[in-house]
Each structure stands twice: as structure tokens, then as C-alpha cells.
């Protein structure tokens, strides 16, 4: 009869974290940025049908990096939670904070339960407010912790490098075209610092736009609208934003 090896809890947790981190790092990164009229989600995704970003509720969006089946599971759970909340109480009673808490609980339980393998996912839950000050962005790493982010956030393979790039260049009150271009620049930098080109067809872009008249603020940006936004050069963007003012 063999005696099981003793593994210290620290070591067990470190191994699990390492496992999850490696899984997440295999996926492509994505970024979430605040801009003047809302929050924009940008990621590289060759698939048209399998989305990394999706709508959870009126003002709440969801972004995930990592294993598809695992985050899809969490996404549907989130939609259910939000819809049930909104139906039982009121549409205003569904908040990103509440949702992020539920996700943190779920991820935390799975991470520390010995029976299951940890989820190889990293999530972002964002809620757009009536003003930029009311915007909320939460990042949820694989172990169930919550990080309250401001301005910009990156998750996925190359996240650290991308977020430091974004932190240096992101400003409050950017237009959508500016924010989008910054996001694409950040995503197209490789680990070794070289730039590569990401064509518009491989980009997945979605916004939570507070100026949308509908109750549901989430909107995907695809096709012509996306290429038009990518093509606008700095001069035009400035002209546009001055018109808006």
C-alpha cells in the first residue's frame, strides 16, 4: 500500500494557480477601455460566431479570455442571474457589482475545491453609467478575487505588457475612434515588442454606449461601421469631437 505524498496547501494552491494562468495565457488577449460615451471592448477573434464579449443586461457587458466552454458556462449563468433579478425586482436592481460578486464566489469555490480543476478563465464585467464617473469595470482573475479597474484593463495571454502600454497612453474623454485605435495598437504588439497587423475581419468589437436611446446599451460594431472607425485619422476625429462639443 502506498502512502499519499504530503503536499503543503501553499504548494497545492500555487500549482493550481500556475495551471490556470497557463491555460489563460494560451488564449489571445482582449482589452476593455473607457471612452467619452461609454466602454469599448476590443479583442482579436477569428471566429464570427463564438463571441468573447456579450451582453448580460441593459448596462452590463461581459468579456472573457481563456477556455471557451468554461466562460460560456459562466456567461449563461450571468445572464440567468441578471434576468431573474430584473424580473423579480426591477431592471435597475441588476448591477455589475452584484454580478461580479456572484462570479467571484463561483470562481473562488471552484478554484479552492479539490474535486474540480480550476477554471482557466479571466473575466471582465463592465457597467456603463450615466456619466463617465459612473462607469464600473471589474476584473475577475481565475482564483475568484475581484479587481476594481479604472480607465483600461487587459486580460489574456499578454495582459501585463498590454495593460502597461494602455496605462501610459489612455486618457479620459477619448473618442470611440481614438480608444479603438489605441486598443488595436496595444493588441498588435507582440511579446518581443514587434508590431504586427490585425485586419478588421479578425477584430471583435463591442460597446456599451450610454448615448444609445434604447434601454439596452450593448452593441456590437461590425463590418462597415468598424472599418470606418478604424480608418478615421486623428484630424477627423478631432474635428468630430469638436463638432460634438
Amino acid at each position: 500500500m502506498s502512502t499519499p505524498f504530503y503536499v503543503s496547501p501553499q504548494q497545492a494552491m500555487a500549482d493550481r494557480a500556475e495551471y490556470a494562468r497557463k491555460g489563460i495565457a494560451r488564449g489571445r488577449s482582449l482589452v476593455v477601455l473607457q471612452y467619452a460615451d461609454g466602454i469599448v471592448f476590443v479583442g482579436e477573434n477569428p471566429s464570427r460566431a463564438l463571441h468573447k464579449f456579450s451582453e448580460i443586461y441593459d448596462r452590463i457587458g461581459f468579456a472573457a479570455a481563456g477556455k471557451y466552454n468554461e466562460y460560456e458556462n459562466l456567461r449563461i449563468g450571468g445572464v440567468r442571474y441578471a434576468d431573474l433579478r430584473g424580473y423579480t425586482y426591477d431592471r435597475d436592481d441588476v448591477t455589475a457589482r452584484g454580478l461580479a460578486n456572484v462570479y467571484a464566489q463561483t470562481l473562488g469555490t471552484i478554484f479552492s475545491s479539490a474535486a474540480e480543476k480550476p477554471y482557466e478563465v479571466e473575466l471582465v464585467v463592465a457597467e456603463v453609467g450615466d456619466t463617465p464617473e459612473g462607469d464600473q469595470i471589474y476584473r475577475l482573475p481565475h482564483d475568484g478575487s475581484i479587481v476594481d479597474e479604472h480607465g483600461s484593463v487587459a486580460v489574456g495571454g499578454n495582459a501585463e505588457q498590454i495593460s502597461s502600454y494602455l496605462d501610459q497612453r489612455h486618457q479620459d474623454g477619448m473618442s470611440l475612434a481614438e480608444a479603438l485605435k489605441l486598443a488595436v495598437q496595444a493588441l498588435s504588439r507582440d511579446t518581443n515588442g514587434t508590431q504586427r497587423e490585425i485586419p478588421a475581419e479578425r477584430l471583435e468589437v463591442a460597446v456599451l454606449d450610454r448615448t444609445r436611446p434604447q434601454q439596452r446599451k450593448f452593441k456590437r460594431i461590425v463590418g462597415r461601421q468598424l472599418s470606418r472607425l478604424l480608418e478615421t485619422d486623428g484630424a477627423e476625429t478631432e474635428a468630430e469631437s469638436s463638432e460634438e462639443e
Binding site: 460566431a49 445572464v79 440567468r80 434576468d83 431573474l84 424580473y87 423579480t88
Partner: protein
């Protein structure tokens, strides 16, 4: 819906035990809803009155709701149950859209509503019926379509125009005489308000435009651009222009005899 019935079945209508009661339960009832198609879309409108027996329970009730981006429901029957049914219907369409990443087909939405009405059959037998009218823009066929229902959930697609509720007989008569194939959006909205006026003229449970309180019918238009509810100014403009003409001709526009 499946999730709800598994986890919180008490939130669903149709699962409740009813106490045995004699006679009809008094609850506010909504009255007339009308719909008409025009090339490029469909118009759905309703009056603003809710009645409880011979009493007007509410003057400014809203009975036409967007179901999703491309469809709307107008409700006649027990107001409380109907509003709850619409809420659940809206939730279900939105939930499906978010989970699946695609909208239900218009036919699928109409079928779903049919099942929901059928689940209310027990209540309907006790006098708490809900009879909605469902209208939407079919994105695949590129035209507006109308579906009407009976209390047992029977569904039938209506051509050109339809009405439900206590004033529906009169509204249908008016629409029959006014309908044409080539209505514009403005004409279609005028037509439904005319029909509601005629319903209010002959049915005591249907409310006409209330000029003193500025309560006018709710008129909604669904086209390929989606759902749009006419603003209060727009619907008051239509109602007022009709009212003005009716001062000279109380029975409204006359159709040719032959």
C-alpha cells in the same frame, strides 16, 4: 423559463392554486387593441381605458408594449395578469436572444405567446382571461405581420388588420371600410386612431381621446428600423385632427356606396 420553473416556480403564472370562488372576480379589464399592416411594417395601437364592471378603473392605462426590437404586444382582458404575461414574454425573448446570440423568428415568438395564454386557461375559465394581439416585423419575409389569439391559446395569423377586446367588433368594422393596400405609415397611424374612435363611440368600455386630460391612444409602429412608439405630441396631433373632422361629421369618413 425552464430555469425559472425549476428554481422559482412561484414566479410563473399558471402554476398558482386558485381558491374556489363563486361568480366573477372583479378586476380591472383592458379593452380595445387594433393593428393594421402597411407596406413596410405594421401599426399596433390601443385605447387608454381599464374598466371594472361598470366603473372606469383607470383612464391612462398603457396596454401596448414592445416585446423586443421587432415586435409588440397589445393586451385586452384582465390587466394585472396580462401585464405580468407581457413582462415574462419580454424577458423570455430577451433571454433567448442573449443566450443564443440570435433572435427568435417571428413565428417562434407568436407560438411562445400562444403557450403562455394556454397556461392561463384555468384563470380564463373563472373570468380572468387574457387575449393579446401580437404584431411584428418579419425580418426574413420583410413585411409586417399580425397574430390574434383566443382564450385557449389558439393562434391565427390575420391579414391586413385585426382587433381584440370589447370594442373590437366596432373597430374591425371601421378598419374594414378604411383599409387599403397602399397605406403610408402616416395613413396607417390615422386609420388605427379612427378605428379606436369608432370603438369608443359604440363601446362604453373603450376610452376615446380625452382632450381635457390630454390622454390619447398609444400608437406604435414597427418597421425594419425596429419598434417606435409615437410621442405624445404625434398621437395628440392625429387624435385632434380626427376630432376636428368629427365635429362636422360625427360618424367619421364615409366609404363609397358602390
Amino acid at each position: 423559463m425552464d430555469f425559472l420553473s425549476e428554481h422559482q416556480p412561484e414566479l410563473l403564472p399558471g402554476k398558482r392554486q386558485l381558491p374556489p370562488v363563486q361568480g366573477v372576480i372583479e378586476a380591472p379589464h383592458g379593452t380595445t387593441i387594433v393593428a393594421v399592416t402597411f407596406p413596410g411594417g405594421v401599426v399596433l395601437a390601443g385605447d387608454r381605458r381599464a374598466t371594472m364592471g361598470n366603473v372606469i378603473a383607470q383612464r391612462d392605462i398603457e396596454k401596448v408594449f414592445p416585446a423586443d426590437e421587432y415586435s409588440a404586444v397589445g393586451i385586452a382582458g384582465t390587466a394585472g395578469l396580462a401585464v405580468e404575461m407581457v413582462k415574462l414574454f419580454q424577458l423570455e425573448l430577451e433571454h433567448f436572444e442573449k443566450v443564443e446570440g440570435a433572435q427568435l423568428s417571428l413565428e417562434g415568438k407568436a407560438n411562445r405567446l400562444s403557450t403562455m395564454i394556454r397556461s392561463n386557461l384555468g384563470m380564463a375559465m373563472q373570468g380572468l382571461a387574457v387575449v393579446p394581439l401580437f404584431a411584428g416585423y418579419d425580418v426574413d419575409r420583410e413585411k409586417g405581420r399580425i397574430f390574434s389569439y383566443d382564450v385557449t391559446g389558439g393562434r391565427s395569423e390575420e391579414q391586413n388588420y385585426a382587433a381584440t377586446g370589447s370594442g373590437s367588433i366596432f373597430a374591425r368594422g371601421a378598419m374594414k371600410k378604411l383599409f387599403r393596400d397602399d397605406l403610408s405609415e402616416e395613413q396607417a397611424t390615422t386609420l388605427v386612431v379612427q378605428a379606436l374612435y369608432d370603438a369608443a363611440d359604440d363601446d362604453s368600455a373603450t376610452g376615446g381621446p380625452d382632450v381635457a386630460r390630454r390622454i390619447y391612444p398609444i400608437v406604435t409602429v414597427i418597421t425594419e428600423d425596429g419598434f417606435r412608439r409615437l410621442t405624445d405630441e404625434e398621437s395628440s396631433d392625429i387624435a385632434r385632427s380626427i376630432l376636428e373632422r368629427r365635429l362636422e361629421q360625427p360618424d367619421g369618413p364615409r366609404a363609397a356606396l358602390l
